[in-house]
Assembly symmetry: C2
Homo-oligomer: 455 residues x 2
Amino acid sequence: MKKALLALLALPSIAFAQMDTTADEAAIRSFYDMALEERHAYGWLEELCKEIGPRLAGTEGADKAVEWAQETLDTLGFDRVFLQEVKVPHWERGECSVQLSDTDLEFTSCALGGSVATPEGGLIAKVIEIPDVDDLESFGRDQIEGKIVFFSAPMRQTYISTGAAYGEAVAKRHIGAAKASEYGAVAVVIRSVTTKKDDAPHTGSMSYRDAPNKIPAAALGYQSADDLQALLAENPELELYMKMTCEWHDSTTSYNVIAEFVGSEYPDEYAVVGGHLDSWDLAEGAQDDGAGSVQSMEALYLMMKSGYQPKRTHRVVLFMNEEFGLDGAREYARQAQLLGHKHVIGIESDGGGDVPRGFSIQSLPSGVSVVESFKWFLEPYGLREYSVGWSGADVGQLRNDDAILLGYRADGQRYFDYHHAPTDTFEVINARALELGSASMAAMLYLLDKYEARP
Amino acid sequence: MKKALLALLALPSIAFAQMDTTADEAAIRSFYDMALEERHAYGWLEELCKEIGPRLAGTEGADKAVEWAQETLDTLGFDRVFLQEVKVPHWERGECSVQLSDTDLEFTSCALGGSVATPEGGLIAKVIEIPDVDDLESFGRDQIEGKIVFFSAPMRQTYISTGAAYGEAVAKRHIGAAKASEYGAVAVVIRSVTTKKDDAPHTGSMSYRDAPNKIPAAALGYQSADDLQALLAENPELELYMKMTCEWHDSTTSYNVIAEFVGSEYPDEYAVVGGHLDSWDLAEGAQDDGAGSVQSMEALYLMMKSGYQPKRTHRVVLFMNEEFGLDGAREYARQAQLLGHKHVIGIESDGGGDVPRGFSIQSLPSGVSVVESFKWFLEPYGLREYSVGWSGADVGQLRNDDAILLGYRADGQRYFDYHHAPTDTFEVINARALELGSASMAAMLYLLDKYEARP
């Protein structure tokens, strides 16, 4: 019984005694040394943020980013670098103004991604403050009809996981307009979904779902939301003037950027490491997801540069349009299936460039065990947190029973301070934190490949 | 044998079954909730940085900081708040200019803390680049005499612990001038000890030890050091012009600021939580150590506010002049001994305000075990790294066999980017990271007190 139990525990995780730990430690150490000394990811991120900047799918910025990524990857010695066509939406935010009616008082605001415009001359309406989407019903059509709904609830600060707080808070951005329109609202303004109490407005995708009546939706800076709340407390009858000139254009063509290194033993098995190349249009997209893009590029580059010969075919995939429909990831997964490209490993970085905390694991329990057998190697580098269930929005499209998919987890305390806001600039990225992430991803790629990890 | 071994392992750490874990989890959760919601530490830090700013011991800034701390602590409901007199040095940096002789090319520079001035009209000399203090001997008096020694080695980036990298790199700042003067150097310039490759000059204490000949010493910004290195490669005969107007004044009087809450069961046993109130004169001292000061204030405030009644007497101690001689900590320890105040617990925060990683422990092995029995409570908040041997420069002065002394460990990747530089401002502090630190310290204080922890 005891032996059987031990055998059960030992498989399919990689038994410690089977590993060449001395060589592995040295290889992993070399990834960190190179990353911290050479700072390629940090240099690339500066180019992506400062030379290209905002790069919403469908815009010229995204086109330039694709070109930049292809040219940069071309210098790194991959077997091939190529583009994969992706159909993407094309939305333009235009101008956005939210004012206290009949005054000069302007709130800091931005259109939510995908919003329709206001009527050409703008609109004027009374405001009703409602904490969040779930509270609409208790107010009811009587109180809401003809008004601008102001969703005022802040992102809850007491969560330790800011991702959990975001998950709870983001409904007002994503479906607030669709839901409020059911009660006859004429527009929606929301308090920005952010952990930082500054006045930067945070955009992000919204959806009308099947709403028969599409109403404009904007985000206010956190401080502007405070101001509006205070003004409403004084005068519940106040009116807002809103003008937004958003435009939807025809869908257009963009690209996933892919760099490939053919495996020496299992060329038909694919391992991908990736982030998304698009960003919101207000931001340089340093945290979201310039960081993940350049870390992915560097992770595979570090592994190749160390002299290690991957057994499986490895790819960097820079996905297009994660922000506004996941089109790149869906197209990549669709093509992989069409071509019979069996994807067994995926690592995504899309949680910002802060210091490493660990990995989240999306795999069968046996795949989880394999990853957990490698934890020991990464503890000296500060990776001690592993969770199970989810990898990332892009790489997660590749889920299948034969795959181990991972999300690289950077510390998330700062992430939502900048997320989708004009403040998400290169300057908020710390070089060492970013580079530790690249090396951590390289180390995990290396271990998964060397020990032929599978669920 | 087996039973005896288990008993040995179980004592004196606190056995899990002995703890009221449900109540403890709830109490700890309440500390984090209050900290993250109310952000007292963050608000205090803004005042300390923006209303007072630089506060080198002996200067007017330090006087104002003492006043601010006393007034602020007075509002928090302690049993008493008082000042403890401390004799401190008084050094003034004056102006510092390092130029390429006979040109307009000025390098970004600052005097090292404690340096003497140059002669009134400045000095001009050739430069010899020497990587670090240990390399002086291989160059020898022949090459060094009459020259300015330029210690050019950067802080090594490949350490994962930036503290370890700092320990290796800081000799050139601390004793570079004393050592170079033994070989007849007329002055020293060093590459700033920093992890950031910007051009901010980083000051910090230096010492002449017993050097018969005190020579001026300055730090160059990292990029300025690169520039000087490149110029020297082209022209090894180049000369620098240096002018510094530092002044030493008579020692003066300053204060530790102490807030006390008398214990309900063991009033004669003392637990202290502290940081240092002084900062370098170039900086707002947000990371070093405004963060630790306000976290210490908040940690004890959170515990009191939760309604928990400490059994031991608890103190916040804001130490004066950690940076330039540890006078406050030495005086505090001296007084404690004189008065027979038995200090059994100490927690110091002096590693910046970044996200929590864990604690370092300075105690007998039995004291270490006690702390380790509490690790479980703090894992959900991201604290997973515990090391043994050292607490902090200030609290470490209280070491004795009956004490458990801890250093709160924030993530250190960013810390030396700003350390002792004009860039160490309020803006580099993340509110949530800072507050998580306060709550972590409160949680540890609470557990140590509730379970009457001792070695």
